[in-house]
């Protein structure tokens, strides 16, 4: 009997030793909890999701900042945006998270409303740089009357178009109004075998999970409506929005200018495959198109009845409540450095997104044609659902309305249903 227990115990012991061995090699790897003591330099952990060339530029900016002074060291870690979303919650729950974190701007309010981030009102009121920032971008950061982050990127959605397909159709001018846009798309829609399903579409208008969730927000703005007004009320079923949705549902279903049931990622795929001529997309589509050997152009989303507008894709950086006062002060010093004219210009050119400061002239960023094309549009860009904690349910309600409308549903009743769902989501 004792022998049994002993042998089982020995086996358990062996397994634990095994586990111990495997852990021996990585003692040095757990550096994330290294923190600056009161006397020494302050070390900040910084998570961001810039995985492409933009990430290398950000690494360089951080390295330059670390070299420029000796009190603060920033360790930046590249993750994907999706990974940050999954890791941040658990990491914060055990105080293992970063001190600085970059995240899609629409995710900022929910974390901020649960007390994840340190308020930055003092920085906004004292920093010279803060005053020179694009105020539309800054408005993404205000949650319940307090600033929870700083804007790290703010780019308007634009239309990317396939120049070869435009040439084939003999189109030389990019449309500037909705009616022209639809007319152009019709010319570019080709149903060779006449089976009612075009082989080439003029436009891909995704009807759910659109790029930056902003395609329909942009169209609603251009039609004179919006999703939530500035007082925080649901206004999805406004007359303007019904008109906008009806207009585009007709264009897609009667004129067949776009495939239906496509999401943002699917739209990117179709554009890359060369089977659609135009797409509302983010700035990265420029390099994606290059990779697929597509000659492209970038243009502003054609204006609707209420003029040109676009929803912006935003990235915010926040200081987590894990950071103590010294770390928060250090983070604010880094912000000042980041927003200096020189660094802000460098970041704009490196990231391919328009400069965050309004006093950087377009000529300073003309060396990057994508930035040069997007910078003039930044003035008409609006943040998506700023300050709204439950953006998940709001966006799901709008998605359902647009997807059903493009499948033949009645825009008025769909937007009414969406409006009550949005109201529920906004209720405290």
């Amino acid at each position: 009997m004792k022998k049994v227990i002993a042998s089982v115990a020995a086996l358990t012991g062996a397994a634990l030793v095994l586990a111990g061995c495997s852990s021996g090699g990585d003692g040095a790897a757990s550096s994330s909890d290294a923190s600056g003591s009161a006397s020494g330099p302050v070390t900040l952990e910084f998570w961001h999701g810039y995985t492409e060339a933009d990430g290398k530029v950000l690494d360089q900016i951080v390295a330059d900042f670390n070299a420029s002074q000796s009190d603060i060291t920033i360790n930046d870690t590249t993750k994907t945006w999706a990974d940050i979303g999954d890791q941040l919650l658990t990491a914060l729950s055990a105080k293992q998270g970063p001190d600085l974190v970059a995240l899609p701007a629409e995710n900022l309010p929910i974390y901020a409303s649960k007390g994840a981030f340190a308020p930055l009102d003092d920085w906004y009121s004292s920093s010279e740089a803060a005053a020179s920032l694009n105020q539309n971008a800054v408005s993404m950061e205000k949650i319940n009357g307090s600033y929870a982050g700083v804007p790290w990127g703010f780019v308007p959605l634009s239309v990317i178009y396939n120049k070869a397909l435009f040439d084939q159709a003999g189109i030389t001018e990019f449309p500037t109004t909705w009616d022209e846009w639809v007319a152009t798309a019709k010319k570019l829609t080709i149903d060779q075998n006449g089976d009612g399903t075009p082989e080439q579409y003029g436009l891909v208008l995704p009807d759910h999970a659109t790029v930056g969730n902003g395609v329909w927000a942009s169209l609603f703005y251009e039609g004179g409506g919006e999703i939530v007004d500035k007082d925080g009320n649901a206004v999805v079923n406004s007359a303007a929005n019904v008109k906008t949705l009806t207009y585009w549902a007709d264009a897609v279903m009667k004129d067949k200018i776009s495939p239906t049931g496509v999401d943002g990622v699917g739209a990117d795929k179709l554009f890359t495959a060369g089977t659609v001529a135009m797409e509302v997309g983010g700035p990265w589509m420029a390099s994606v198109a290059e990779g697929a050997n597509i000659d492209y152009g970038l243009a502003q989303i054609p204006a609707g009845p209420a003029g040109p507008a676009s929803s912006a894709i935003g990235i915010s950086v926040a200081v987590t409540n894990q950071a103590d006062d010294a770390k928060k002060a250090a983070a604010e010093k880094f912000f000042d450095y980041f927003y200096s004219q020189e660094v802000a210009t460098k970041w704009s050119l490196g990231s391919g997104w328009p400069p965050l400061r309004t006093d950087i002239p377009a000529s300073a960023v003309s060396s990057n044609p994508v930035v040069a094309a997007l910078t003039p549009m930044a003035g008409t860009a609006r943040p998506l659902l700023p300050g709204i904690a439950n953006s998940v349910d709001v966006l799901a309600a709008v998605d359902e309305a647009t997807q059903k409308a493009l499948a033949g549903g009645d825009p008025t009743s769909l937007l009414d249903a969406a409006n009550s769902a949005v109201s529920d989501a906004l209720a405290p």
Binding site: M1, V4, I5, V8, A9, L11, T12, A15, G85, D86, L89, T90, L92, S93, I110, Y111, K114, G115, A116, T197, H208, A209, P259, T260, G261, V262, D263, G266, K269, L270, A273, T275, N321, N390, V392, D393, A396, D399, E400, Q403, K404
Partner: protein, 316 residues
């Protein structure tokens, strides 16, 4: 007394499925069992049972995972049962399970029987071929299926169109999205259950079949009188785990439809993930997890009963 009954009695293990074992040395001291159980129990206690109990506590709070939390009584449970949006995820999950479980068991068992034929050429190749989908990660598998199913640039659609069939947008059709996801899930997982069935089939003594053949049983009778009863512990295992897996459906939906269109594929675990990780409502996510636990437990116990009764009926 037929030869079949004779052999069956000889080869039946006493104490199958819940029957009490009849060890000849009488009941062995609990200490002995504890020695065998201890390592696993320690790990389960720390990393499974305790977190499960923590989740129960969290289900009565408004926890966000970090920061302050407050006791809210049954508020989270009340919200679940009064919010149609959330209740619907229970219906979607039940539909998913009702399709996935029988399809997976049938596919796995049919192929296990086919591949268990000694006379089949290339048996090793086929076993590996049918097992392959299981070892591919879901994210990679999703790419392949989207490549096949995409209504505009998909391969399957392209092939079918050349013979005049329009497949349509199956992953974005509110009526077809769930069955499509189920099909992909069955494709992904049947190979694993098939291997379990093969392992179970290998344990059936060949004499039982010989005896049954001598008794004049045809193929179907051999299947129902020998294979099924002898496979009952394996079958019970597969049925219960396929059911649990169905009620936990997440990966395949996350990558294929994200819960859409119109939440028609939004399962309970998708909702738990969204409430917990996207809306930071850990309290509600925990409560919903417990609702799922109770449903799955009740269904599993019914299943267990069913197999037990079959077992007794056969034994008696």
């Amino acid at each position: 007394m037929s030869a079949t009954a004779q052999t069956r009695r000889t080869y039946r293990a006493p104490g199958q499925l819940g029957g009490r074992p009849r060890g000849r040395g009488g009941p062995r001291p609990a200490r002995l069992a504890l020695a065998f159980l201890l390592p696993a129990l320690l790990i389960l206690a720390a990393f499974v049972f305790w977190p499960v109990i923590s989740a129960l506590r969290l289900s009565f709070t408004d926890s966000s995972g970090f920061g302050a939390e407050h006791f809210v009584g049954l508020a989270n449970y009340v919200e679940i049962f009064t919010t149609p949006r959330i209740l619907r995820t229970l219906g979607v999950t039940t539909m998913y399970a009702a399709m996935f479980t029988p399809l997976t068991i049938a596919a796995a068992l049919a192929l296990a029987l086919l591949l268990n034929r000694r006379t089949l050429w290339g048996r090793g190749f086929f076993r590996t071929a049918f097992f392959l989908p299981f070892i591919i990660s879901m994210a990679v598998a999703a790419f392949a299926w989207e490549f096949l199913l995409d209504p505009q640039i998909g391969l399957l659609n392209y092939w079918l169109q050349s013979i005049g069939i329009h497949l349509g947008n199956v992953l974005q059709d509110p009526n077809l999205a769930l069955p499509t996801v189920v099909l992909v899930a069955v494709w992904k997982s049947f190979g694993f259950y098939m291997v379990i069935f093969i392992a179970g089939l290998q344990d059936i003594p060949g004499e039982l079949y010989e005896a049954a053949t001598i008794d004049g049983a045809n193929a179907w009778q051999r299947f129902t009188n020998v294979t099924l009863p002898q496979l009952s512990t394996t079958l019970a295992f597969v049925a219960i785990f396929a059911l649990i897996a169905a009620f936990q459906a997440f990966d395949q939906i996350y990558v294929l439809t994200g819960g859409g269109p119109y939440r028609s594929t939004q399962t309970v675990v998708m909702e738990i993930y969204q409430e917990g990780f996207k809306k930071l409502d850990i309290g509600l996510a925990s409560a919903l997890s417990y609702v799922l636990l109770v449903i799955t437990l009740v269904l599993s116990l019914i299943q267990f009963r069913f197999f037990n009764r079959r077992e007794e009926a056969i034994a008696g």
